[in-house]
């Protein structure tokens, strides 16, 4: 199964959330994580792999697409990460292979040849891994277009593709996420012109609300007026989300505000929770996302 992670804006937590989803999936499945954020490949930093913090020196995905190499670099996260508590934390974990971008890479135009390479990469990895997570650059990027065109090819018809759209819980982000999916040159429009059936494609899209404040929790530093105002805002955003076709039935899940992630983009493991650094709710939300992602019932047509 291919999972594409997209967002309209940068800074939505797309990469850090998808890395965490990949981490949880890999506890029970073989997972590949592809850094398709060609302009700024930074997922290596989230997995804490020092030699790939901002992409690798050579043979990364960028070189694969632009320079004709056949085997892009793959790094075994369990072996390469410097985080001791991720290594060997689960003796029965599946593989987690990270495909980094290239240091100093940039977005590139899509030619027919690059398109073909993309199809080959996806089909090859789909035959090898249970889930392939592809982290796309933000906005209506060349990477997004390439992914939509590749998945529409006849030789990809046996491959399940699911699309996640990450957005924060604010007015601007909700409107932007709507634009990315339903707007001009959005996912559905580009997908249709690439040869996708629009309804089928829409059924394969789910939204992920990132860093949503929990208003039910008691906050002693808050005045009654503040609390009332926040509740009103939240209610307004809910209505806005429904009006923008981002309502409950279209979301895969929600992640809470996590102080650790505000400071540092990283994998949140059980060890961070038991050390009382990260909130248990955060790990729970990532795990739920990973479960729902592979649960076919969640993805049945609407």
């Amino acid at each position: 199964m291919l999972v594409f992670a997209s967002s309209d804006k940068g800074g939505t937590g797309r990469s850090v959330t998808s890395c965490n989803i990949a981490f949880h999936l890999a506890q029970r499945l073989d997972v590949a994580y592809l850094d398709f954020d060609f302009g700024s490949p930074t997922s290596g930093a989230i997995f804490e792999i020092p030699r790939a913090e901002r992409g690798v020196e050579r043979e990364g995905l960028h070189t694969y697409f632009t320079d004709g190499i056949t085997d892009p670099r793959r790094l075994d996260v369990w072996r390469q990460t410097t985080r001791q508590d991720l290594r060997g934390s689960n003796v029965r974990a599946g593989r987690l292979a990270f495909f980094p971008g290239d240091k100093g890479g940039a977005e590139f135009g899509t030619t027919r040849e690059i398109q073909q390479r993309c199809v080959e990469l996806f089909t090859r990895l789909d035959s090898e891994f249970d889930v392939v997570v592809v982290d796309l650059s933000a906005g209506r990027s060349a990477a997004l277009t390439m992914a939509l065109m590749a998945t529409a090819q006849p030789s990809m018809r046996g491959v399940t593709a699911r699309w996640l759209v990450f957005h924060r819980w604010t007015h601007q982000h909700i409107v932007a996420a709507n634009g990315l999916v339903y707007g001009d040159r959005g996912l559905l429009a580009v997908g249709k012109s690439a040869g996708h059936d629009q309804d089928t494609l829409l059924d394969a899209i789910r939204f992920v609300r990132v860093a949503v404040p929990n208003l039910r929790e008691h906050n002693p530093g808050q005045t009654a007026a503040q609390a009332t105002w926040l509740h009103a805002c939240d209610e307004e955003l809910r209505k806005l989300a429904v009006d923008n076709r981002l309502g409950r039935s279209r979301i895969l899940g929600t992640t809470p505000v996590e102080p650790v992630l505000q400071w540092r983009e990283q994998i949140i493991a059980e060890s961070d929770v038991s050390a009382k650094i990260a909130n248990a709710g955060t790990v729970k939300s990532f795990r739920e996302l990973s479960v729902r992602l592979t649960d076919d019932a969640v993805w049945e047509g609407m």
Partner: protein, 308 residues
């Protein structure tokens, strides 16, 4: 000396393909014959694809080496289920310094002339190195291109019956007069292997077939091992592994026939590999384990049905 690489993986098809479909699948060049053998198991070989090269040869430690000539690549399908692509070229040391007319190379298929007189051992070591260098002979890339070409063909339904990791096996075969055939298999990591073969000169041509057979069985062995591991993981997580085990039985188990397609003079090499590391014994243990799991699950289902 011959150097080569074999990449092995599962065809992207839900069930094994029938004989004629495999012939169509591998008819990559009009007018060129596909060769199919049916006994003891179907093995079909595509026509050779010939690529001209003029490039640096990897050497370790680094020496000056240029190779000019042609590389032969073909695809092999075994039992309608496993796809291999195999690239190889015979290296011949020459003392001329400038490239000759292409006809000099094109009528010697699968031969690369080695210029610059590098020590053979350095060329062998270089061919085992995994990292890609620009303008350097890369047999793996040719293999991969062939694999992707076949995997994208319309005869397939593009739904692999089982998720498996492909393997890459790099090999070199050295001719030594009067030598007893010998093989050394080295497991570099979970998907890469290197093989050194020594044979008397008259058997050099058979080495490639032997290495393809070795790559097939090494892949089967690895794939089945991974299936057992995945099944244990599923059982630990409370997921039912029966579909996975069933697919492994259907697709992989009947393909195990070490040495079946190898020249009889090289079959003793298999006997050596059966001694150390001992392939067949652990293979059969894994197969028995899988069958046991399926029997136990059937028994449980039957008992549950009775009590119900």
């Amino acid at each position: 000396m011959i150097i080569g690489e074999v990449r092995t993986g599962l065809l992207r098809n839900s069930l094994p393909l029938p004989r004629q479909a495999v012939v169509d699948l591998l008819s990559l060049r009009p007018g060129r014959q596909v060769v199919a053998t049916d006994r003891p198991i179907n093995r079909t070989v595509s026509p050779d694809s010939i690529v001209g090269v003029d490039c640096t040869l990897a050497t370790e430690p680094q020496a000056k080496a240029r190779g000019i000539g042609t590389v032969v690549t073909h695809a092999v399908v075994v039992g309608g289920a496993v796809l291999q692509s195999s690239s190889r070229t015979r290296l011949e040391w020459v003392d001329y310094r400038e490239r000759k007319a292409w006809t000099h190379y094109t009528h010697r298929r699968g031969v690369v002339d080695v210029l610059g007189n590098p020590p053979p051992v350095q060329v062998v070591n270089g061919s085992k190195r995994s990292s890609h260098q620009r303008d350097t002979l890369d047999l793996g890339a040719m293999c991969q291109r062939m694999l992707m070409l076949v995997q994208g063909r319309p005869q397939l339904d593009y739904k692999p019956g089982l998720r498996t990791q492909p393997t890459q096996l790099r090999w070199n075969a050295t001719a030594r007069k009067g030598a007893r055939p010998a093989v050394h298999l080295h497991i570099d990591d979970e998907s890469r292997r290197t093989v050194d073969v020594v044979v008397p000169p008259e058997l050099l041509g058979e080495a490639s077939r032997f290495c393809e057979d070795l790559a097939l069985h090494d892949w089967l062995y690895t794939a089945l091992g991974n299936v057992v591991e995945q099944a244990e993981r599923d059982m630990a997580a409370g997921t039912d592994p029966m579909k996975l085990l069933g697919s492994a039985l259907t697709l992989l188990v009947r393909l195990w026939m070490p040495g079946a397609h190898v020249d009889s003079a090289l079959r003793p090499l298999w006997a050596d590999l059966e001694d150390v590391p001992g392939f067949s014994q652990s293979w059969h243990r894994n197969v028995a384990w899988i069958r046991d799991q399926i029997s136990m699950s059937t028994l449980t289902a039957w008992q549950d049905a009775r009590t119900f």
